[in-house]
Symmetry: D2
Subunit: 337 residues, 4 copies
Amino acid sequence: MIVVMEKGATPEQVKHMAERVEALGLKAHVIQGTERTVIAAIGEKRAETKESLASGPGVEDVVPILAPYKVASREVKKEPTQVCVGSLKVGAGIIGVIAGPCSVESEEQILVTARAVKAAGATALRGGAFKPRTSPYSFQGMKEEGLRLLAAARQETGLAIVTEVMTSEEVELVARYSDVLQVGARNMQNYRLLEAVGQAKKPVLLKRGPSATMEELLLAAEYILNEGNPNVMLCERGIRTYEAHTRFTLPLASVPYLHHKTHLPVVVDPSHGTGHTYLIPDMAVASVAAGADGLILEVHPNPEQALSDGYQSLNFIQFNDVMARCRAVAAAIGKKM
Amino acid sequence: MIVVMEKGATPEQVKHMAERVEALGLKAHVIQGTERTVIAAIGEKRAETKESLASGPGVEDVVPILAPYKVASREVKKEPTQVCVGSLKVGAGIIGVIAGPCSVESEEQILVTARAVKAAGATALRGGAFKPRTSPYSFQGMKEEGLRLLAAARQETGLAIVTEVMTSEEVELVARYSDVLQVGARNMQNYRLLEAVGQAKKPVLLKRGPSATMEELLLAAEYILNEGNPNVMLCERGIRTYEAHTRFTLPLASVPYLHHKTHLPVVVDPSHGTGHTYLIPDMAVASVAAGADGLILEVHPNPEQALSDGYQSLNFIQFNDVMARCRAVAAAIGKKM
Amino acid sequence: MIVVMEKGATPEQVKHMAERVEALGLKAHVIQGTERTVIAAIGEKRAETKESLASGPGVEDVVPILAPYKVASREVKKEPTQVCVGSLKVGAGIIGVIAGPCSVESEEQILVTARAVKAAGATALRGGAFKPRTSPYSFQGMKEEGLRLLAAARQETGLAIVTEVMTSEEVELVARYSDVLQVGARNMQNYRLLEAVGQAKKPVLLKRGPSATMEELLLAAEYILNEGNPNVMLCERGIRTYEAHTRFTLPLASVPYLHHKTHLPVVVDPSHGTGHTYLIPDMAVASVAAGADGLILEVHPNPEQALSDGYQSLNFIQFNDVMARCRAVAAAIGKKM
Amino acid sequence: MIVVMEKGATPEQVKHMAERVEALGLKAHVIQGTERTVIAAIGEKRAETKESLASGPGVEDVVPILAPYKVASREVKKEPTQVCVGSLKVGAGIIGVIAGPCSVESEEQILVTARAVKAAGATALRGGAFKPRTSPYSFQGMKEEGLRLLAAARQETGLAIVTEVMTSEEVELVARYSDVLQVGARNMQNYRLLEAVGQAKKPVLLKRGPSATMEELLLAAEYILNEGNPNVMLCERGIRTYEAHTRFTLPLASVPYLHHKTHLPVVVDPSHGTGHTYLIPDMAVASVAAGADGLILEVHPNPEQALSDGYQSLNFIQFNDVMARCRAVAAAIGKKM
C-alpha cells in the first residue's frame, strides 16, 4: 500500500502516518519525492488498512498494491478450476452449455424444452422456480413445484439442473432438487446468501451484479470459497451503462481478464447481456471466441407466450443454429463443446 | 402501451399483434402512420404485458406509457408522506437528520457520539450492527451486542435508532431494538428482505442501489408498501458511474424528481455519495437546498481510528459546522430543521 | 411520435397539443386511455418536432417512433455497403485489417511496421501524424512529416493508409496523403469536421465517441453521408463506463446491432477498447466472431519504447498470432479475411 | 510514480525497469514487499512516462502520484481566480448568472430576453449563434447574424455576451462580437479549438464533456492556459450515466472537488444538467449551495415555441422565481449574487 501525502504535508504528519502504518503491523518506508512524500506500507495487507489510513492528517490518497481477494486468485492456484456436476463440465478447455426457460411454467414446457436443448447439445438445464422480479406485480415463479418439475426433467434427460436461490433460508430447499445453485445478479452482494451457498457444498453459479467491479465479483466469490466450497463459476451477464439499445452492456473483455486474475471458470449469459433475441446468436459465438468456459442461454418453446423474458429467449430452431455456430468456433480455437 | 411495428410488418402481423393485445384484456387501437403502424393498447396495465408483446412477430419495440408502480405514486396520493418515529420526523417540510458512526464499535464510542450528534441537532442516531462488507476479511459488525448498545444510547439520549438489517431472517431481531429498519443499497432488490420489512410494520429507510433506476427504486418501495407498511423513506446515496474522484456520483436531481413522482420522503446520504470527508459539508448543504427531507451522515469521535468508513466520516466539530450551515439554508428556503 | 399527456391534463390542454401537432404539419390522432390521453402524431418527422412538443402544457413525455437518421438506415438501403480503397476492402463478407503504430515516430519505425503487418495479412496501415492528446505536454505527432512517411510506406508496400484528421482546416492536407480519413472518438461530434470530411470524398473511418449512443453515432455518419460521401466505416472502440480494469468497455453487441440498423460496415478497435496488450488477442478474435467487418489494431516494433499507447500495442509476433487465430474463426463463420 | 511489478517478476525484470525509470530522467527507488516489488520513480513527471513504463516486462501496473495538470492546479496558485468581463464577475465569492435562450432566433426574441433576465438579476446574456446539433437536419443557428443580434442586445442592456464557438476557424469571428468564448461539451477535447481560444485572449467558458473525468477537464483547461489565456471558467453541465429520467446526471460534488484542486471558477448548468424545466429550479438552488461561482441557465420568452431546448428552458416568471430563491441561499452561505 502506498500512502500519498499532500504537497504541503508537514514532517509531523509524515511521522504520524508512518507510525500509524507501523501500528497496523506493516513496515513503513518513507520516500521523499521532488514534489510529494509517499509512504510505502510493506507486509501482508489487512482489509481495513486502506480505509483506516485514508482519513489521516495530511494524507491525499492511499493506493492499494495487492488485490484484496486471495483464494480466488490465480497467484494462489495456477491451474484452472473445472466444475463438474452430472452432465455439466465447465472450464479447463471444455465449454458447458446451460439452456432452458427463464421460468419453469408447466411440466410440459420444461420437459419439452429439456429434450430440445439436450438434443441440440446443451449439457445442463436452467429454469427459474423462485424468480426475483423488479415489480411485486410480476409472476414470481412456481416455487417448490417448479423445483419438482426441474428434477423430473433431470430424471428423464439426465441434464444437470441449474436454478436460482434467492435467500439463505431457501438454500436447503433448492439444494435438495438442484445440481447447481445460482446466485442472481441482484444478490451478488447478499452476503448471508453467499455464506449459505458456501456452506451448501453444491457448485455455485455466481452472476456478476450489474454494477459490480471485477474486484467485487471476486470478493463475492471469496465469501463462498471461504466457507469451503471450491466449485464457483463466475458469470458475466452484462453491466449497466448509459447504453439503452441493449438491456445491459455485455463486456466480453471480462473473460480474458478473469482468466488472468483467477482460476475460476467464466460463464457468459448473452440473453441478459443483450436483452434482444436477435443479438444473442452473434454474442454467444463471440463469447466462445473470447474464451468463455460456458454459456447460459434462455430457450423457450414459444417465446411469444413466455411468462417472463420472452424478448430475450431463443426458440428451439434458433438455439439449434446458435449451437452449430458456437461449435464451429470452439473447434477453430481448439476448445471442446 | 404502444406496440411499434417494424417498417415492413405485414397486415397479418399487425392483425396478430392486435389480437394478442386484446387477448391480454386490453383494447387495441391500430394507427397507420406514413412509415410505420403502431398499436395503442388501452386499459389497465399488467406487469408482464410489455415483456409478453415485445417478442411478437414484426414488433420493433413496445413503449410503456404508464409507470409500473402504483401505491408509491403521487398520482394515487397527492399529499407528501411524513414519517414520524420517536424523535425523528422526515418529510412534509421537516428535515430529519440521522447521524452516527458507520459501525457500532464500543459502548463508549456510541454513547459519546449519540450525545454529540444530539447536541448538534441530529434527530436520530445511526450505527451499523450487522455490516455488509465487500470483503469477507473485513470487520463484520458487533451484531446483537451492537443492537444492545444502540438501544442503550436511545435510552440515554432519546434519539430514535436507525440500523441496517441484512436478511429476512434477522428482521425480527433487528426490529426488537431499532426504530427504523434500514435496507442497504446492495439489498435494494433483495425481495425476500423487502417483503419481510414490509411485514415488520416499522418505518423503513430504503437505500437506492448503486445502479438502480428511479423506477426500480420505486418498485422496491412498492414491495414494502404492498405488504401494508406505508412508512418508507427513500434514500439517495449515489450511483456508480465512470467518475473515480468520488466514491459514487451523487445525483441530487433525484430529490425533485422523486418529489414529482412519489409522496414518499427523500433522504440524502452525502457520506456514501461522495466518499471523502472534505466533500461532505458542501454536498449536505446542497442536498438541503435541493429539497431533501432528511440527511444521513457518518459521524465518528475519531475518524482516523474508525473500524470502517473513516475516510467519509465527520468528526464532532465538522458535524457541528455542517449542521449550522444546513440550518441556515433550510431557513432560507422555508424548511424546518 | 406519441405525445403522452399527464394524468390530470385538461381537455383544453389536449386540444391545444393536438393543434400544435397539426401546426407542425403532422396529423394528430387523439386516443383516450383508461388513465391517460395520448396523441399520436402521424407524418414525416422533422428533427425539432420532439423538442418543440415536449414543453407543451400538460405534456408528460414525447416518445419518438422513427429513428432520426435516414441515409444511414438499413430501411433505405438493404444491401450492405462495402468500402474499397486500394488494398483495403471492408464489409459485405470481407474483413479488412488496419494495423500499425499509434504514432508515426520515424521512417524506419513505420517502414518496418508496414512490412511486418503486411506479411502477417493486414490490408491497410494505420499511423497517427496529428495526435489528439489529453495533455498539452504529451507528444503531439510528427504532423506533415508523418504524413509523408506514411505515403512512403504505401509506396513500398502497397498498403492503403488510414490516418486521423483533427480539424476541418487540415482535411485537405491529410487527404493529400491518406487513403482513409479517420475521425477520432473525441471528434465524433465535431460537426465542422464531419462536414469537411463529407466534402472530401475520401472514405472515412468514424470512431464512436466514448459516451455516444448508437443514434448519435449514426447521426454523425449522417452528417458525412449528407455531404455526398457514401464511404463511411463505423468504428466501435469502446465506451466509458464505471469499469476501471479496462481502459474502456468494449460492447461487441454494437456489431450485430449496427448491422441490423445500418448498411454501413463496422470496424472494431480492440486496442483502445481494452487498453491492455494481454486482452487484445481474445477480443480481436471475439470481434470477428461477433461479425465485425474490420479490425484496427495498434502494432509497434517495440511497444516498450513507443512514444504513445505502448501498453496497448502488439509486437510483430503477437500480431502474427492474432491474425492466425482471427483467420481460423473467420473461416469457421464463413467470412473472408 | 509507482511501478508495481507482477508477483513472479524476476530480478532481471526489476533491474530492467529500474534502468528504464532512470533513463527517463527519474530516480528509481526499489522497494521489496512481502508479496511484490514496487519501484518508486522520483522526480518531475513527464506526460509520457506512465504510458512508457506500463508495457515493460513483468510490470503489473503503473500508479501515477502527481496530477498531470500544472497551471490549473491549486498547488501552483492558492488564491481563487475571478473572471471579470464587462457586467460579468465569476468567482472569489461572487456568483455570476449567465441567462438567455439556447439559440438566438430573432431580434425581438433576444432583446426581450436580455431585458427580462437583466431585470431579474442576470449578469450576462447567453445565446447560441453557431449551434452544434446532433442531427444534420436540426436548426443550426443564425450564425453571424445571430452574433450581431447579441451585440445589439449588449448595446442596449450592458450585459456581457457569452456564446459558443465551434471550430478554430471561427474563433476570430466570434471573438469580434462576444465577451466570453464558450467551448461546448462536445468540443471539450477539440484541441485545435482549445489552442485557438487560448490565443484569443478573451475569457473562456469551458464545458465539461459528458464523459470527461475531472482530470481530462483540467487538462483541457491546461491547453487554454498554456497558450497564455488565464481567464478560464470551468462549467459542470452533467455527465452521461445509465440514468434516463434526466437528460444527463448533474454531479454537484464536482464543485467542491474542483475548488479543492484548482483555482479556476466553477459554473454550473442546471438546464443541460437535468434536461427538464421542472427540475431546474431546485438544482439551480442546490448548485449555489454547493458553492458554484456561477450559473448558466436557458431562458426563453415562450419555451413552447423555442427552436431548440424548449423542454429545458425557463420562462421569465420561472427565471425570476429561481433568482429569488438562489439569492436567498447565496445570502445564507455568505456569497454575493
